[in-house]
Amino acid sequence: MTTPALAVEHLSVRYAVAGHARGLQALDDVSFFVQRGETLGVVGESGCGKSTLARALLRLVPSTSGRVLFRGEDLLALAGPELRAMREHLQVIFQDPLASLDPRLTVAEIIAEPLREFRRGLTRAERDERVGASLARVGLLPEHLRRYPHEFSGGQAQRIGIARALMLQPEFLVCDEPISALDASIKSQIANLLKDLQQEFQLSLLFIAHDLAAVRFSCDRIMVLYLGRVMEIAGRASLFESPRHPYTRALLQAVPIADPVRARARAVSPLSGEIPSPLSPPSGCVFRTRCPLAIARCAAEQPRLRRIGDNEVACHRAEELA
């Protein structure tokens, strides 16, 4: 087995919160890997820790413990120039494309910024050529170079963000809800573009989303988070066709079906209750307060992630969900 592109080991992030001695455990002992050329999806609802995960990998928030192995080094242990050098290989695309682009810069300046930072030896002509090629690759026109971010629609702005992220030919791309804010007709354009670029550049992707359909299209494997803990990790087919965790099942059943006849024929009993406050998570399994299968053991003992068939599941009763 080859070394994965990224391996996360026992990552925990705790935020200090006034009045709460134990703070807010945003991520609790999360471990996973992303193979080279693979897209790992991360799904979950509010408070599951998916955005914190992106921020922790990018060192935008401090981690409490754990390791993030990337290019043979622990990202969490790097500082100063070493950390800066690593950013060349690890880039990010954000959910709100317009908010992530500097409104005072032209598109040409925005896309060229990583080159100015990391490829200082380039001549102006070389830089312009790379900027032009990158712009064309994401489907924008040369005339767009002199315009400012506010002149673009959401989909176009996301293309600019992607062009910027790919400028240095990174190995790894963190995509934090890259298509959530886009209209339906634009979503599929961007999802296709990301998939094409991934294959073309052999990129490894961490694809964070709350939209399960988008994840099914874009990801090879999927990790399901709930209140900062991993519930299930599985390949796309296993996760969508034979989910082992009751939460994964509930998530899949909650998605509305765009077929009025089938939608009304199915008997869905939505999960009761809402996600508990991450400031006071339930004991044992964090999902147990909403789980239709919860038993006394679930309150007493936190289930460990274990392999059952093709899936890794953190549930005491996963065998019964075959």
Binding site: S185, I186, L212, R216, L251, P260, A263
Partner: protein, 345 residues
């Protein structure tokens, strides 16, 4: 309240009571280069118990249309006609509109916090409408509020009355907003993306609650959403909007199985299924979303349409009934498109 005890007679069902009749509605704002028609020539009919879904992307005019039904679009100019039980609302006084808002026509918005006052207790906000519109005393209004909180399945309703919005979760707040919208027993509920801001498991709860309330009352609902899945789960009839116009309209099964407008078809095809075969590439709609400030002279979708021909550039196509043989609901299925040939699966 309880419709099942008073089943509607068959004759009543054949001629449903018209609640809302909209004809040629146009909503315009002043723009730098002339007026912007954000809603342009919309007709709608709503009868008691109807569940109409309006689907569209950003800038399609779906929210502007909903706001127009209550005259809430600030600074807009209205043309055409909106009749509520025969009473004309276009040009009606603010007093008339106020009498209807909340009392006869309830509203549910995407973000419950836009409908809730953060400084007032849930109880105070719930009873305000029913005291004003129904003239109930405080005690009677509070009793009614408790009944409504119970109907929307809020736990510990007595305690909730004293709480403030920030003490409730997002899903709970939306339940309160639904209770507020229903408390005066309105004829119509206007719901603008009521579940878009919620997590998917909470969305499922709210959709199931909306189904339940509708089964218990004869309230007519207009649900606006960008999500075809939500529309398919909830609506009996669907109107698809693009650049301020309705481009296709049909009963839900027809719209989802036999769409005839290329835009509707493209929207449907862009949905990734959660099961079954997965395409290696998603079908896309080329080009950019429409900008009402610079629409082409003909069909607004023409620049992105795969079936475009010369006639499309001349004038916007009218919304007309489809007269296809063998179509079960032919008389209700309408489209605004000149192309008459087959469109892809």
């Amino acid at each position: 309240m309880n419709a099942s005890r008073n089943p509607t007679s068959p004759s009543h069902a054949c001629e449903p009571e018209a609640l809302l009749t909209v004809r040629g509605l146009r909503v315009s704002y002043r723009g730098d280069q002339g007026p912007l028609h954000v809603v342009d020539g919309v007709d709608l009919d709503l009868a008691a118990g109807d569940y109409l879904g309006i689907v569209g992307e950003s800038g399609s005019g779906k929210t502007q249309l909903l706001l127009a039904l209550l005259g809430l679009n600030a600074g807009a100019r209205f043309e055409g006609s909106i009749r509520y039980r025969g009473e004309e609302l276009v040009g009606a006084s603010e007093a008339t509109l106020r009498r209807l808002r909340g009392a006869r026509i309830g509203m549910i918005f995407q973000d419950p916090m836009t409908a809730l006052n953060p400084y007032l207790s849930i109880g105070t906000q719930l009873i305000e409408g029913v005291r004003r519109h129904r003239g109930l005393g405080r005690a009677a209004a509070l009793a009614r509020a408790l009944e409504m909180l119970d109907a929307v399945h809020i736990t510990e309703p007595r305690r909730r009355l004293r709480q403030h919005p920030h003490e409730l979760s997002g899903g709970m707040r939306q339940r309160v907003v639904i209770a507020m919208a229903m408390i005066c027993e309105p004829d119509i509920i206007l719901a603008d993306e009521p579940t878009t801001a919620l997590d998917v498991t909470v969305q499922a709860q709210i959709l199931s609650l909306l189904h339940e309330l509708r089964a218990r009352t004869r309230v007519a609902v207009i649900l606006v959403s960008h999500d075809l899945g939500v529309i398919a789960e909830m609506a009996d009839r669907v109107a698809v909007m693009y650049a301020g116009r309705i481009v296709e309209q049909a009963d839900a099964p027809t719209l989802f199985t036999a769409a005839r407008h290329p835009y509707t078809q493209a929207l449907r095809r862009s949905i990734v299924p959660l099961e079954g075969p997965l395409p290696s590439r998603l079908p896309t709609i080329g080009g950019l979303p429409p900008n009402v400030a610079s629409l082409p002279p003909g069909c607004a979708f023409a620049p992105r349409c795969g079936y475009v021909f010369d006639r499309c550039g001349l004038a916007p196509p009218p919304l007309v009934p489809i007269s296809a043989p063998g179509l079960a609901h032919g008389e209700q299925h309408r489209k605004a498109c000149y192309y008459e040939g087959p469109i892809g699966p």
